[in-house]
Symmetry: C2
Subunit: 507 residues, 2 copies
């Protein structure tokens, strides 16, 4: 007998065995596959709303009620029946990105099969941080990093990269490395210093996570210097050089210059070669946020948009955007392999095995924000291995081309105003019906917001809004390669019909 | 005709339609369900290795070769056949956490059904940041935050919380909020300042992500002040008070005191009420890292371990640890709702809709590191809704009890040395065979590391190592509720056999 006095866990163990039952799992997984297959068919055929709109409070209330109704005991058949109910609730209250009328954010209707590869990691709970916890997760990550490095134009043996949970985390990681390289002692000593404050020079229309990074990293958002853009929303190299000269004259250390391929608002690609010339001259770290546009590198037709990216010190490239895998799968890439170890530094003796030092190179936790990390690259590795890179070129070509096709329609319509020449699949515009010819810019802007809200809550289309010159506008990202030009025509027609109804209501 | 001249995308669209085919997806999903069901049966029955060990280089090489062999064209049947091959490679090279001999890191064999709920989000690519992108993802997140707040002992209406990608990100988020509250202007102005440097007081055995947070946030790792622990590895309140008095005397602003429930090395739970008394007296933010132990709150038998947690300003609680859902699903909880808006601050007019200000409360992107965020709480919501909170109590009870049961075995064995009295399911010990009675501590430590490597590479058991008083030790986290006491006996026997072989080889 053991010298411990514990209550018997027989009943608890019985309940746990029931929850882990492989038979129950197999039965539920079969139902899951069947329901998701039907769902995918209906959504792609446009037989559902795009967004299933419900107000937040009723949704939260329902989610709480369902939680509270969980039965403690049930037969396997009852569990499967409830499992079906639960996933039907999840589907019927969710957002149908695979609907051809989804033309919203830079989040794709991922290739459904990519979700299955990703989900293999969820069910088996494969994770990384150290190689031995997720050996295959590390292997596919490194294999993909090599391919992406080649696409950028780097030697995989001298560059490095890793996958992390999203573009914001990826940009933060790269800028942390840049900060530590620029300031030397910042990791250990902090950014406290006498003299002019270190600054981050950021494309004026870069993603908000750049300003955030300055706030997080202790630099302060006031130390973000905006690099001005030209009329096409692209970073202006001439003004960048003037800015760097001024900062140098004032004695500010420059952490990095952040350029975009492409920037979020209208999808503008910065002139990277001209920017790299200036950064090299000033010996400043060049970071390129290619979260959205990096995937153009895999398209012979569009790779020219990223010309010069190989001269960056760090690049962020989100596979969960234009490589059409589920979120989150963002790559941070470093031209100089050593820089990949500069972001973080820590002592975790219980994680890293002194008897096997050769494995450290593969212990990704040394270089990522995450300790435990999902095998976030399973989806991309599976998809790439199943279809090859041609699929990615196709996806970029079809969606980017649609940007031009949609812009042509807007230009030809008297009651729509395109606000820029599209460089990719992001297009920003306004609906300008005759009845609003005398509206103030503010009224016209508020009309775009109200109109969008009507349309998205109807479930007919999902599009987003943007802000150009301080005035709201409509914005589409043509993220669904199943969207057709007929759908684009229908979008304009839907906006006209909903717009008329809105104007009548307010009259 | 439209005034644009683009190449025809007919062939590309055809290839894309083939990749998105709902029929192909349904066929693959059915195969996926069948293969994973069989896999789960075999692994739970112990018919596979635990870890499928392969050296990193051959694994990376294979992952790269498979990528390069992707066929551009294939029939649906050929695609399904290749899909099967790919997922079989992934399974055969992965880590089998559901094997009863998995007693490794604080990463659970998640309840397989939880993986299916999570995977629904992967296949449909549901994401959050703003409510309208993932309305059901936000709803289940908020419903769960309410339940976790109640378990902590907070009023859900006055507290707040959110889910993020992992414990490291969660702790960083909470400490960022604490930094911004303590220093006032840090977000905008940066942490540079005159006078004594701001410091972070951290339990001496806290997770390495705390020191990292100081490095990331611009405080500097040298500004981490260790709060000493007692012989049971628990933060010593008397010495904490002396430390705070000293820091105050020297004029250092204190960002926060970080306590653990429990700390990683041996799973020690800090005396939170005594610590809260001191933090209240000194008006210092108390952060409790309850990534692992927070789940004890759902067990009537073990909730006493967290007594006082309701007095913390912020708490981190990982559902992907002791709530047995797949990674990553970590909750950051704030006692004071307003604090949840203090971590970040940004201006992203294209995301947040001025025409619907009431939705901002539900636009979680304002409060998380991520912009696009997976619906990371789908797994927990589904599991909770299917089985209710009793399952979580059962899982905590069975695994924590096993900690005592294993410790009793170690104590009774002449050739094993337990290194602490376990408080949960983490147990650290050394194998001390007769042949090593005269070994130096360093030799004994290296023996533990070599022994562990032999065992894990054999696939017989997966356990990890720890370091106690500077000397390596063996460490188990009894994370698999399907592990039995017979398996624990077998673990000791396996260590003896492998240990003897190792000593003979080195003789």
């Amino acid at each position: 007998m053991l010298p411990i006095d514990l209550p018997s866990n027989a009943a608890a163990r019985e309940r746990i065995r029931a929850a882990y039952s492989p038979e129950l799992f197999a039965e539920a997984a079969g139902n899951w596959a069947e329901i998701l297959g039907q769902h995918m068919t209906q959504v792609q055929a446009g037989q559902t709303p795009v967004l299933n709109w419900n107000d937040p409070l009723p949704n939260v209330r329902l989610a709480r009620e369902v939680l509270n109704q969980a039965p403690t005991t049930a037969t396997d058949d009852e569990r499967v029946a409830r499992f079906r109910e639960l996933i039907l609730v999840m589907l019927s209250r969710g957002h149908n990105l695979h609907h051809p009328h989804y033309v919203g954010h830079q989040v794709p209707p991922s290739v459904p099969l990519a979700g299955l590869f990703d989900a293999l990691g969820s069910v088996t709970n494969q994770v990384m941080a150290i190689y031995e916890m997720g050996p295959w997760g590390v292997a596919v990550e490194q294999a993909l990093v090599s391919r992406l490095a080649e696409a950028i134009g780097w030697d995989p043996a001298r560059s490095a990269g890793l996958v992390t949970h999203g573009g914001a985390a990826a940009n933060l990681t790269a800028l942390l490395a840049a900060r530590n390289v620029a300031l030397g002692d910042a990791w250990e000593g902090g950014v406290a210093r006498s003299g002019p404050a270190p600054v981050l020079v950021v494309q004026a229309e870069a993603h908000y996570c750049m300003g955030r990074a300055a706030g997080i990293l202790g630099l302060g958002t006031r130390q973000v210097v905006k690099a001005e853009v030209d009329a096409d929303h692209r970073l202006d190299p001439v003004r960048l050089e003037a800015t760097l000269n001024r900062l140098r004259g004032e004695g500010h250390p420059v952490i990095a210059v952040v350029a975009c391929a492409c920037a979020t608002p209208v999808g503008a690609f910065d002139p990277l070669n001209a920017i790299a010339d200036i950064c090299e001259k000033h010996r400043v770290w060049l970071h390129v946020d290619a979260a959205h546009g990096g995937s153009a590198l895999l398209s012979p037709r569009y790779r020219h948009l990223c010309a010069g990216i190989e001269r960056a010190d760090s690049v962020v490239w989100d596979a969960h955007k234009m490589l059409f895998v589920p979120a989150l799968c963002a790559f941070v890439m470093y031209r100089n392999r050593d820089h990949s170890f500069r972001a973080f530094s820590q002592d975790a003796p219980y994680l890293f095995d002194a008897s096997a030092p050769d494995l450290r190179e593969f212990d990704g936790g040394l270089r990522t924000l995450e300790c435990t990390k999902r095998t976030a690259a399973y989806g991309l590795w599976g998809l790439w291995s199943l279809f090859g890179p041609q699929l990615f070129a196709d996806l970029v070509d079809v969606t980017f081309d649609m940007g031009s096709q949609f812009h042509a329609r807007l230009s030809a319509a008297p009651d729509f105003e395109p606000l820029h020449a599209p460089q990719c699949n992001i297009v920003v515009f306004r609906h300008t019906p005759e009845a609003l010819k005398n509206a103030t810019p503010e009224e016209l802007g508020m009309f775009q917001l109200r109109l969008r809200r009507e349309v998205i809550e109807s479930g007919e289309f999902y599009l987003v809004h943007g802000v150009v010159n301080g005035i709201p506008a409509l914005r589409v990202t043509l993220m669904n390669p199943l969207t057709t030009t007929e759908d684009l025509d229908q979008l304009l027609e839907t906006l006209r019909i909903r717009g008329r109804a809105l104007l009548e209501t307010h009259r």
